[in-house]
């Protein structure tokens, strides 16, 4: 009988220790304002339509503006040619055919 009671007491003690350990592991301290802002910012940036990564400013500025304007003009001509091909023979493949434009490759 004594052994049985001893076992029951030890079981209760073990259960109490387990509950305390679980409570300590899952307990959340109230977040500070700074932490809340950080969490908000992280959540905001994790949208489905994430922002397009911008070309590094230094890299973009290395191209002389005249060259950039020529690239844009070349891009427009290639896009018009691609669109004209689509109008000649309309199909989904023709509509989305790739060009060699440096602005999109």
């Amino acid at each position: 009988m004594e052994m049985l009671l001893m076992g029951a007491v030890l079981s209760m003690f073990g259960l109490a220790v387990t509950c305390l350990a679980f409570g300590a592991a899952t307990h959340e301290e109230p977040a500070t304002e700074t932490e809340k802002e950080a969490v908000k910012a992280a959540a905001a940036s994790a949208r489905f339509f994430a922002a397009v990564p911008a070309l590094p400013v230094a890299a973009a500025n290395r191209v002389p503006i005249e060259a950039l304007l020529l690239q844009i003009e070349n891009h427009v001509r290639l896009e018009q040619a691609a669109a004209a091909c689509f109008l000649e023979s309309p199909s989904a493949t023709a509509l989305h055919g790739r060009t060699i434009s440096s602005l999109v490759n």
Binding site: I65, L68, R77, E79, A82, A83, A84, F86, L87, L95
Partner: protein, 154 residues
Amino acid sequence: MIDADLLKGLPPAEAERVLALGKRMLLTTGAELFHLGDAASSLYLVARGRIRLTLPMQVRNREEDILVEERSSGQTVGWSALTPPYRFTLTAAAPLETEVIALDREALNAYFAAHPDTGYAVSLNLASVIGQRLQLFQAMWLREVQRMVESRCA
């Protein structure tokens, strides 16, 4: 006589009569024919040379005229002159010495009122010019949207 897209299907003598309503203009290299936002009172047929049609765009905080389309001999420029609110929606300039025939809206309207068959034929040709441009830019726009979707959902 120039082979103008606007006068397609007209008997040669009738096309000559329409062209006779116009005034020939010679543009030196770099000369501007009309500017974005200007009042549009004349339609232009390119007799020889080339016309660049541009729109302003901000490139590195500078406003630059970006090529949208080029028109060459026989093609029509400035059909804003025939459609309200009669304002040019592009800027047109000659990249090389170019000759155009300017057709005044009032003169055309008066002639077409007196010659409805000619007016009808020219209207159909104009609709074709406008329709082709619409389809072309519609396709270009969709290609751009496709790229945007690909870059954002990759």
